[in-house]
């Protein structure tokens, strides 16, 4: 049993001459729910596809459950549950036939759990997949991925197309899966509130680079958003490093700084601000700050 079900080392992927992933490295520890965030087209799906061996990397290496992704054995594939973006199901099949196929090609099949999921999602077995709604297809894909009792669950925007109730059900199921010992989840999503609810580690990809890779708590503690009021016009430069974003209007400056520490506080104090208030930041706020075009994202901790 390896301690890191997912290891990505200096992953580079060029697609039609365009660099989609640029030296991405990270590790997902066992039992972790890793939330992968990024704007559309930033390379999240490509990375997941490379992890699963569906796409060859241009450079670098990805290891899943101890095996190189380009050479995953059937046994390793059988220990990975995957919900694809857009739900890659065979559209011309009836649900019953698709379930039969997946069951026949699985290493293990938890009939009881699958039955429970079918009941929860109220999936019709005698309808063709193409006749299901987008939400139902998402639920079917999720049920199929979870029925194999996966050691590693990879979800590529799984709640896309689900209504609020189904989304809530999905999140509860994900939590249920993680509670089974040793289960690991890597999931990407656009719904940041979902990620915030269940993820305990976050990775943010911006233009093919992984600009954030830390625990959710650490991310929240490292990034501060401050509203500073100065006695006169706000200064042009605060001489503080790791400024992710700053906006000034008259005497007021709203500042987002990474790796906030007493030294930075002391530098700010030299400008004798009238007030300095910390603004609460949700994951969504942090995400927007980090993915802003001019943003320097979250640099590793520095001295000042």
């Amino acid at each position: 049993m390896n301690d890191s079900p997912i290891v990505v080392e200096n992953l580079v992927k060029y697609y039609e001459g365009r660099c989609v992933l640029d030296g991405v490295s990270f590790t997902v520890p066992r039992g972790c729910i890793y939330g992968l965030l990024g704007r559309n087209g930033c390379g999240k799906t490509t990375m997941i596809r490379i992890l699963l061996g569906l796409e060859p990397p241009t450079r670098g290496r990805t290891v899943v459950l101890g095996q190189d992704s380009t050479q995953l054995s059937a046994n390793t594939h059988g220990r990975i549950g995957y919900v694809a973006e857009g739900h890659n199901l065979i559209q011309s099949y009836k649900v019953r036939r698709l379930v039969g196929l997946c069951k026949g090609l699985s290493l293990q099949w938890n009939e009881e759990f699958f039955g429970h999921l079918l009941e929860t999602f109220r999936l019709p077995m005698d309808r063709k997949v193409k006749d299901l709604s987008a939400g139902m297809r998402a639920e079917l894909n999720l049920a199929l991925a979870m029925a194999i009792d996966p050691e590693l669950l990879i979800l590529d925007d799984p709640t896309l197309g689900l209504d609020t109730v189904a989304r809530r059900q999905f999140l509860e199921l994900a939590i249920d899966v993680i509670q089974r010992q040793g289960r690991t989840i890597l999931f990407s999503s656009h719904i940041l509130a979902d990620v915030e609810r269940i993820a305990d580690r976050i990775g943010v990809i911006v233009a093919g680079k992984l600009v954030v890779d830390c625990s959710l708590d650490e991310l929240k503690s490292r990034i501060k958003k401050l509203r500073v009021i100065f006695p006169g016009p706000a200064p042009d430069d605060l001489y503080v490093t790791d400024i992710v974003n700053q906006q000034k209007q008259g005497r007021e400056m709203v500042l987002t700084v990474a790796n906030w520490n007493p030294q930075k506080q002391a530098i700010l104090e030299t400008f004798h601000p009238e007030s300095c208030t910390e603004l609460p930041m949700s994951l969504e706020d942090i995400f927007i700050e980090c993915t802003r075009p001019a943003s320097a994202a979250v640099p590793p901790e520095s001295e000042v």
Partner: protein
């Protein structure tokens, strides 16, 4: 593997059954030709039916690969406890079974008819073996051409690409006839086509 072969057969049922139906019709017509006494008509008739069967094998190979791509079957299968090698192996085994299921009845019927109606010369026996093996190899070659061409995303190339390659196989038989030379060429051709298909299938993005 059985699940994968079953899936291949069910998904391409028309392409698997059509050559078998043509084969059964061929056997029926051959028997009636021999029984009616106009045995000389059997050879041109077989010469007409074989290209139809070979075209069917090519269509089966193309349908398997093209259907896989358009219905996005392999991306789903590859995320289950299956490797791409196994998916392709199941596909090729299905094709081989279809070729044998279509050609073996014709071969068996021809052998029985020849033994019954023609004088028992050693020459005929050797000829039957050579023609049978060459026909099976040519059928497999046509199927492999279909597999390779079916990997395309273009429907036009799917239709156009099959024909010259199948014509090449047919002209090989017309020029060289049935015999050990052709068998060797066909074995090499099948090997090359399978290796190319395997390389393309196992390294492509799904």
């Amino acid at each position: 593997m059985l699940t994968l072969i079953r899936r291949e057969i069910r998904d391409n049922l028309i392409y698997v059954l059509a050559p078998c139906v043509v084969s059964i019709l061929t056997v029926g017509i051959l028997v009636s030709v021999f029984l009616s006494g106009i045995r000389a008509a059997a050879i041109p008739f077989a010469g007409l039916m074989l290209p139809v069967l070979f075209l069917g094998f090519g269509a089966l190979g193309s349908a398997q690969m093209y259907g896989d791509r358009t219905n996005r079957i392999s991306p789903l299968l590859s995320t289950l406890a299956v490797t791409r090698d196994r998916i392709l192996a199941a596909r090729v085994l299905t094709g081989v079974l279809a070729v044998l299921a279509a050609l073996v009845p014709v071969i068996v019927a021809s052998v029985i008819l020849l033994q019954t109606f023609l004088p028992p010369f050693e020459f005929y026996r050797r000829m039957v073996v050579e023609v049978s093996v060459t026909a099976i190899l040519a059928g497999l070659a046509c199927y492999c051409v279909g597999l390779l061409v079916g990997g395309t995303t273009s429907r036009a190339w799917l239709l156009v690409g099959n024909l010259p390659l199948l014509a090449l196989c047919a002209s090989l038989l017309l020029v060289k006839g049935f015999g050990p030379d052709v068998m060797l060429i066909l074995v090499v051709l099948i090997g090359a086509l399978l290796v190319r298909t395997w390389l393309r299938f196992t390294t492509a993005s799904l």
